[in-house]
């Protein structure tokens, strides 16, 4: 259970990227995969924390889709 250390696993990142490549010859180096895993983790944590902030601003204890919707535009502009 090494996946519970938090963050994305290299294999998963590799498969996620490979699925969308238009050229089957495209490969990804090991370091690039590790960096991509880091980037995706940041993306998820950012989405979560920004939603939490929005919920706190609205004085809510439960973060719902509404809060995520409000922070989504800026999040997508930042990535």
């Amino acid at each position: 259970m090494e996946a519970t250390g938090g963050g994305f696993r290299k294999e998963l990142v590799s498969k996620l990227l490979q699925m969308h490549f238009t050229d089957s010859k495209t490969k990804v180096s090991g370091d690039a995969l590790r960096l991509m895993a880091e980037l995706l983790t940041i993306f998820v944590v950012e989405a979560a924390i920004r939603s939490v902030r929005q919920a706190q601003a609205e004085d809510l204890a439960l973060v719902d889709v509404d809060q995520l919707e409000k922070v989504l535009p800026q999040l997508l502009l930042d990535f």
Binding site: G7, L12, V28, R53, L68
Partner: protein, 173 residues
């Protein structure tokens, strides 16, 4: 023939679903960390929405990376392409650049260690009567060295606290 296409289509679909499930699991773990840190709760729909978001964002990431590599006349995506992907936010770019330097430093250290280990083994196995086994010895050792390499990286992985700090940094930006 049509049936073949049908099953292939179905297989691709189930592959997609499995990947989505894996992303969902990872997002769930990460959100749990944030929830316990900030003492709030996420609704299940929010976690599902973030998973879907991440999954779709991956498509943009993959296509961008492929284009970047092709623009540099390469077929292998390297860390420079990933750095270019993080160009939109200054603090994110800074963080990714630092992470990249850490990775290269770590790789250099590991390589030096491996080399040293190999040399040590050679001097040890130079003892008489064991010379014949030396080739096999060093071969058997390299997978072990690789395993240690992997573990080291796991330990090096960021603590949630550090990530939170970074996130706050980006937010304030």
């Amino acid at each position: 023939m049509e049936e073949d296409e049908g099953t292939e289509e179905q297989e691709r679909f189930s592959h997609r679903q499995r990947l989505k499930a894996a992303v969902h699991y990872t997002v769930g773990c990460l959100c749990e960390d944030v929830a316990s840190d900030k003492e709030v709760q996420f609704s299940k729909q929010t976690i599902a929405a973030i998973s879907e978001l991440t999954f779709r964002q991956c498509e943009h990431f993959a296509k961008d990376l492929e284009m970047f590599a092709r623009h540099a006349k390469r077929s292998t995506i390297n860390t420079e392409d990933v750095k270019l992907l993080a160009r939109r936010s200054n603090s994110l770019l800074k963080y990714i650049t630092e992470k990249n330097e850490e990775l290269t430093q770590f790789n250099i250290e590991q390589r030096a260690k491996k080399k040293k280990k190999l040399e040590d083994d050679k001097t040890k196995s130079l003892a008489p009567a064991e010379a014949a086994a030396s080739g096999r010895d060093s071969l058997a050792l390299s997978p072990g060295a690789e395993a240690a390499f992997g573990e080291g990286r796991q330990e090096q992985a960021d603590s949630p606290e550090r990530r939170m700090k970074l996130s706050a940094f980006i937010l304030s930006f």
